[in-house]
Subunit: 136 residues, 2 copies
């Protein structure tokens, strides 16, 4: 049975379910950042998905890239990563990076504590991300 690791719930907000993945907005206002969690039980690595699922995940990664660009923050480069060293449940980060953002040019993971969205900004970012992902 598919269940989301509680670590995701603590650090991000649900956007909704795409064809394969549960999509979440990472609660760090410094980076437009979507996390995709394929909704299958017991996944750890990309290779644990079937070929057809990988094709869907690829589409969802591209869609998440468009969505992070729709959050009203400048995006100079996308960063896409499936790491899972801390939370091994398979998930893919799609992050919009801006030249000069706090972690630039290094990776965001592990750089510094999140600066969470306030309620208003979170509502706006969530609505924009949902609209871009067709999760209105």
């Amino acid at each position: 049975m598919f269940e989301i690791d509680p670590a995701f719930v603590a650090t991000s907000h649900a956007l909704g379910d795409l064809a394969l993945s549960h999509a979440r907005l990472q609660d760090d206002a410094r980076y437009p950042w979507i996390v995709l969690i394929p909704r299958r039980a017991a996944l750890r690595e990309l290779e644990d998905l079937a070929r057809e699922e990988l094709a869907i995940l690829t589409d969802e990664i591209l869609a998440a890239g468009h969505a992070v660009r729709a959050l009203g923050v400048q995006v100079d480069k996308l960063n896409v990563g499936a790491l899972g060293n801390l939370t091994p449940q398979l998930h893919v980060h799609v992050i919009g990076r801006r030249i000069g953002d706090p972690a630039w040019p290094g990776p965001v993971w592990g750089h510094s504590p999140a600066e969470t969205y306030g309620a208003d900004k979170l509502a706006r970012a969530t609505a924009a991300a949902k609209a871009a992902l067709g999760l209105g």
Copy 2:
């Protein structure tokens, strides 16, 4: 015309050309680490590839995962990342991580200077990676 950014040449060794990507072994003996560079000109983001190319790249990412496991180092988790903040030419890192490796559990990128392979180890790792990728 496709050309490899010189930054890759300085930090990795050619393994050969897969269907889409040029494959290279990152010259850091601490991590089994393959870099895939799709052989198309002027790519920056995954979305710059056609759907069929993305499907091939996905296959090559899985193959690179098998290959890093074939280098004789324990692999507890794969890390797959397309960042490009420093070198914007589209490339995908496939890295075998071991619990307790120098950067664990953080990302390897930007963590610390590479510890390059010696000639013998490089020859062995290159041969193993080529064999696993069918680049014998």
